[in-house]
């Protein structure tokens, strides 16, 4: 019996309810670091709202647990697997690769991390050719860069790869003529986009 069969909807329901109850208690304790009292003389303490909101959350999770014990909720009677094995692989790989992506962003910077993320993800899940994946994985970060850094002027994290971008910034904000910048955009945006478009049509 595989692990995905062991985790039934029933088990997931009660496990999640207990975890949420514990989280609610933790929130209550955390809220109590501030004053949680409130009466007519004093203003509302900073911890008052979070404390009673998390108390409410705790009551709701206890009700969910009671409904589970009394078998009143549909989940409490459901012995089917919470997730089937094929879908589990999809979800697990996706979540792990996203976590690795965000870890890598802090170190490598977003643009290079994206190349690796896209290359891995497409190679793993799609049946596209290496040529397609390479073009796709390189074009997407370039488009992201131009969109955020050039159009929106929002810098994205670059980690250790930051020095590599200095020449690009010099170019972007330097005194180059409009025509030079346009040629640059055509080379970096229009051409790759066209390439991706063509490859989606002709390369599998």
């Amino acid at each position: 019996m595989s692990i995905t069969n062991k985790i039934t909807v029933k088990r997931a329901e009660i496990a999640v309810a207990v975890i949420l109850a514990l989280c609610s208690i933790a929130l209550m304790i955390k809220s109590a670091e501030n004053r949680i009292t409130w009466n007519a003389e004093e203003n509302m303490g900073a911890g008052f709202l979070p404390f009673y909101l998390s108390l409410g959350m705790l009551i709701c999770t206890i009700l969910t647990i009671i409904k589970f014990v009394l078998k009143r909720s549909p989940q409490s009677k459901d012995d089917t697997p919470f997730i089937d094995a094929v879908a589990f692989k999809f979800i697990a790989v996706t979540i792990i690769s996203l976590v690795v992506l965000v870890l890598a962003i802090g170190y490598l910077g977003i643009y290079f991390s994206l190349i690796f993320f896209l290359a891995f993800y497409l190679r793993y899940f799609s049946e596209k050719s290496v040529a397609f994946i390479t073009i796709f994985a390189i074009t997407t970060p370039i488009l992201t860069f131009l969109f955020f850094e050039w159009m929106l002027k929002i810098p994205l994290p670059q980690g250790i790869s930051e020095p590599l971008f200095y020449p690009v910034y010099d170019f972007m904000y330097g005194g180059f003529s409009f025509a030079v910048k346009m040629i640059f955009i055509i080379l970096t945006v229009v051409l790759p986009t066209a390439l991706v478009f063509l490859t989606t049509r002709f390369i599998k």
Binding site: V9, A12, E13, V16, L20, L27, K30, S31, N34, N39, A40, E41, N43, M44, G45, A46, L49, P50, L53, S54, G56, M57, C60, T61, T64, K67, Q75, I83, V86, A87, F90, I91, T94, I95, L98, V99, L101, V102, I105, G106, I110, L114, F117, L118, Y121, L122, F125, S126, K128, T140, T144, F147, F148, M151, L152, K153, I154, P155, L156, P157
Partner: protein
């Protein structure tokens, strides 16, 4: 008369080239987002909001409203062609749209959907124009107690009318509110709930982090599970000659259009409802009232028109309380409302007097967007069919890239990206166990506003909660509060009622 002047100004605002370009672009994105299975208006708006920070608020709202609008049209495309609703708002469209497509009349279904959407959109925009100014005028007299009561009612509608498990719904509302209290307390200035002393929590949790997490990452995980990375489109021929024939078939759907447009609008106004229940209700009622109700489900155009009319109408309807009262009518408008706060506007009736260009620009743009989306929708059907062939395994990473960059951009901190991943994963698990997620998004947006209104009210009343229940002093607040209480206890009477009714039947 004054309204017509404002409306014309608004239409001219939305026809300025920059706004018009964004509007058409928004409609296109909306159609695309709506057509993709797994993505709906709320996902599109949540993922795209970070990129609207650099454009003026009027242009931003016109763009996002067009996305919202386009998604309502686009949802029908995959409902008909794939038999999978493109968005939850188009679930009811599958019932008759899919059988029509299987019969080889896909074009009839798509045209009926587009025209239905257009009619619903137009009727609702006219209703909107008529209702908004007087409602805003009434709302101008609202103070903190009335505002707080309204927000309580918004939360209560989820419990009373949401139809989900009650403890789970209340949990979702409370966790959203609790998350919104993280950060500095505005009144005492004390830091609250700074977990593990991570400085990232000091600026609070931006609603966008939760919205992108749940509607971007969480939704993608959900769709990956459903589709296993593959979406197969059945082959269907697209014949433009059919468009003409389809228009002919629409004569019989006038009743469906009426029901969809009016019902959709009023259901859309309710905070918990939004476009999904509106379209389902509209389908059900049209079916019941129709002379040939038995044919519903086997592919009748009226069965496509009714839900499509209703979801467009409801999407406009849900903007009415957002603009006039500052209370969103649907998850998508909750995110738009959060966006308005980020753009530096104060949602609520004052917008009508302080930012007429914004309000009327939005209303005007709805008229224009409605027209453009109809034209684009019908003209680009072949293009959307191509889009639907994009494998999900390629689309998903692109959406993830948008989520990660969108989660980072507003505050420029990786802390928010981590939170977004966490919320996405938690949202996915909770949704699988039937915890409704929309109330959490609504309450994280409304949380800070509700807290401010509550504390101001309590200062007014010297700390007495009585201010919300005293009919003689604050009649409006009290009435709204009592309605909220009725809504809150309503689900408790459901089982009693059913038990009583059953006994009567057996007796």
């Amino acid at each position: 008369m004054e309204t017509i002047g404002f409306l014309l100004d608004g239409i001219f605002t939305s026809l300025q080239w920059f706004n018009l370009a964004l509007l058409i672009f928004g409609c296109l994105i909306g159609l695309f987002v709506g057509a993709m299975p797994g993505l709906g208006s709320v996902n599109g708006v949540a993922i795209l909001i970070p990129i609207t920070f650099i454009i003026p608020p009027t242009a931003a709202i016109i763009f996002l409203a067009a996305v919202y609008y386009g998604a309502m049209y686009g949802g029908a495309i995959s409902s008909v062609m794939l038999g999978i609703p493109g968005a939850s708002t188009a679930v009811a469209t599958v019932f008759d749209g899919r059988p029509l497509a299987v019969k080889g009349e896909a074009m009839t279904a798509l045209t009926a959907a587009a025209v239905g959407s257009f009619v619903g959109g137009t009727v609702s925009v006219i209703l909107f124009t008529l209702f908004a100014p007087p409602l805003a005028e009434v709302a101008l007299r609202f103070n903190a107690p009335e505002t707080f009561a309204l927000m309580v009612m918004a939360f209560a509608t989820f419990v009373g009318l949401g139809g989900d498990d009650v403890p789970k719904t209340i949990f979702s509302i409370l966790i959203g509110l609790a998350l919104s209290t993280i950060g500095l307390d505005l009144i005492t200035g004390k830091p609250r709930l700074i977990f593990f002393n991570i400085p990232g929590f000091l600026h609070g949790i931006n609603f966008l982090v939760l919205a992108i997490g749940i509607y971007g990452i969480g939704e993608m995980l959900w769709t990956l599970e459903e589709t296993k990375g593959k979406v197969q489109m059945s082959k269907l021929s697209v014949n433009m000659k059919e468009v003409g024939r389809a228009f002919g078939a629409l004569k019989k759907t006038i009743m469906a259009m009426n029901i969809g447009s009016f019902l959709g609008f009023f259901v859309g106004i309710l905070p918990a409802a939004g476009a999904t229940p509106a379209s389902l209700m509209s389908y059900g009622i049209t079916k019941q009232l129709s002379k040939n109700s038995k044919e519903f489900g086997s592919g009748v155009p009226a069965g496509v028109v009714a839900p499509e009319c209703a979801n467009n109408s409801a999407s406009t309807g849900s903007m009415l309380p957002m603009l006039t009262l500052g209370i969103p009518g649907s998850p998508t408008t909750a995110i738009l409302l959060g966006g308005m706060i980020l753009w530096g506007l104060t949602p609520g009736p004052l917008l009508f007097t302080q930012e007429p260009e914004f309000v009327w620009g939005l209303i005007g743009s709805l008229y224009i967007a409605n027209f453009f989306t109809l034209v684009l929708n019908i003209a680009l059907i072949p293009a959307f069919l191509m889009v639907l062939r994009i494998p999900f395994a390629i689309l998903a990473p692109v959406i993830f890239v948008l989520c990660v960059t969108g989660g980072y951009a507003p505050t420029q901190s990786l802390h928010d990206v981590w939170l977004m991943l966490l919320f996405g994963f938690a949202g996915y698990i909770l949704r699988k166990l039937d915890y409704p997620v929309a109330p959490a998004v609504l309450s994280i947006v409304l949380g800070p506003l509700a807290e401010k209104a509550l504390r101001q009210s309590l200062i007014l009343s010297d700390g007495s909660m009585g201010i919300f229940f005293d009919i003689s002093e604050k009649p409006i607040a009290a009435v709204i509060m009592y309605i909220a209480i009725v809504l809150l206890i309503m689900p408790a009477f459901g089982p009693l009622y059913r038990r009583f009714f059953k006994k009567k039947q057996t007796a």
